[in-house]
């Protein structure tokens, strides 16, 4: 059964009130909500090669209409997001129907989990002064020393124009009140942004939440390698908390009761090299 028939069936069986997919407009595929009232529109339903966070639309719809039943196109990354949003009680799994689309028909491309995405090209200057999009967190740690890592991140962060694109596109950013807009943490109306506080806040808030869809990096107009950053966040969370966000609907790893850890506080005397001089 093709995609359009499947959606039609969902409407006929009265399983959903709205279906979130993509529709072409002036040659661009844009997210669109298909409804029973306008079934004829379904003909235009397509799978986009570009991606948009349909779950975010679903979250907003649910906030307004808690009982609305939503159908949507779901790739691997969408499914991880949905799991996470179920975990954090932002969506009710009983109200969501997905039509799953395998987006990895070809072998994985080096950069991305998603075969629709072409690996990004990193320019020569960025490679020498900044951070390669296609770097892997472990090799990044191995290749550069503390000082070098610092200067490379600062190069990237200082480009930030505080457009909030990363947050706005993020499918798991659902807070009504965002710490990035707290005047006492991030001074409003000034540029450059408070480095690295802005990115550090976002990175810590991604702990236990980021499902590695890469939309933030796609959205960033300044080409900051955000996916690499949050991949490392995920790696640390997985190491320390043994938790992989979106990988099922397990509760968050943050608890106090009954918590027993074999982890010891890090000793202080970790020797560091090349500490004295930080370059800019």
């Amino acid at each position: 059964m093709n995609l359009i028939d499947q959606v039609e069936q969902l409407f006929i069986q009265d399983k959903i009130d709205i279906f979130l997919g993509y529709k072409a407009l002036d040659g661009h595929l844009l997210p669109h909500g298909f409804t029973r009232d306008r079934m004829e529109e379904l003909k235009a339903l397509q799978v986009s090669e570009g991606r948009y966070s349909l779950e975010k639309i679903a979250t907003h719809l649910t906030e307004k209409h808690p009982d609305i039943r939503i159908g949507m196109i779901a790739r691997e990354c969408n499914l991880r997001t949905l799991n996470l949003l179920y975990t954090w009680k932002q969506l009710n799994p009983e109200n969501i129907e997905t039509i799953n689309i395998s987006c990895c028909p070809s072998p994985l491309k080096p950069h991305s989990d998603c075969s629709y995405l072409e690996p990004k090209q990193t320019g020569a200057y960025k490679k020498t002064h900044g951070i390669d999009f296609n770097a892997d967190p472990d090799t990044f740690l191995d290749d550069f020393n503390n000082k070098n890592r610092f200067s490379r991140w600062m190069y990237e962060f200082n480009k930030c124009i505080k457009c909030y694109g990363c947050r706005n596109i993020c499918p798991v950013c659902f807070c009504d009140e965002c710490s990035l807009e707290h005047a006492s943490l991030v001074e409003p109306g000034t540029l450059p942004v408070d480095v690295p506080i802005f990115h550090l806040i976002r990175a810590t808030h991604m702990a236990g939440r980021c499902i590695d869809c890469g939309l933030c990096e796609d959205a960033c107009p300044m080409d900051i390698p955000l996916r690499l950053l949050y991949r490392q966040v995920n790696a640390i969370v997985s190491d320390i908390f043994d938790y992989r966000p979106g990988n099922g609907t397990d509760q968050s790893p943050f608890t106090i009761i009954g918590e027993k850890t074999v982890l010891e506080p890090k000793p202080m005397d970790a020797q560091l090299e090349g500490e004295k001089e930080y370059g800019l």
Partner: protein
């Protein structure tokens, strides 16, 4: 939980190139000597590592404007 959270922050700061500038130690209210020792050691360690590189950036940015 504190150990885990601080460990997370330490690893993240390491990734950012700010390794060794965050430390966690368990000290009870009865362990004054240990407290003094830890604070002294940490102060000394930070002194050896040099000033906070972020301050330099802050100054540079302010200078630019």
């Amino acid at each position: 939980m504190t150990i885990k959270r601080i460990r997370f922050m330490q690893e993240l700061l390491t990734f950012f190139g700010l390794e060794g500038r965050l430390h966690l130690e368990w000290i009870s209210s009865a362990e004054a000597q240990k407290y003094v020792q830890v604070v002294t050691d940490f102060t000394e360690k930070i002194r050896q590592m040099g000033p906070n590189p972020l301050k330099k950036i802050d100054a540079a940015v302010k200078g630019a404007i």
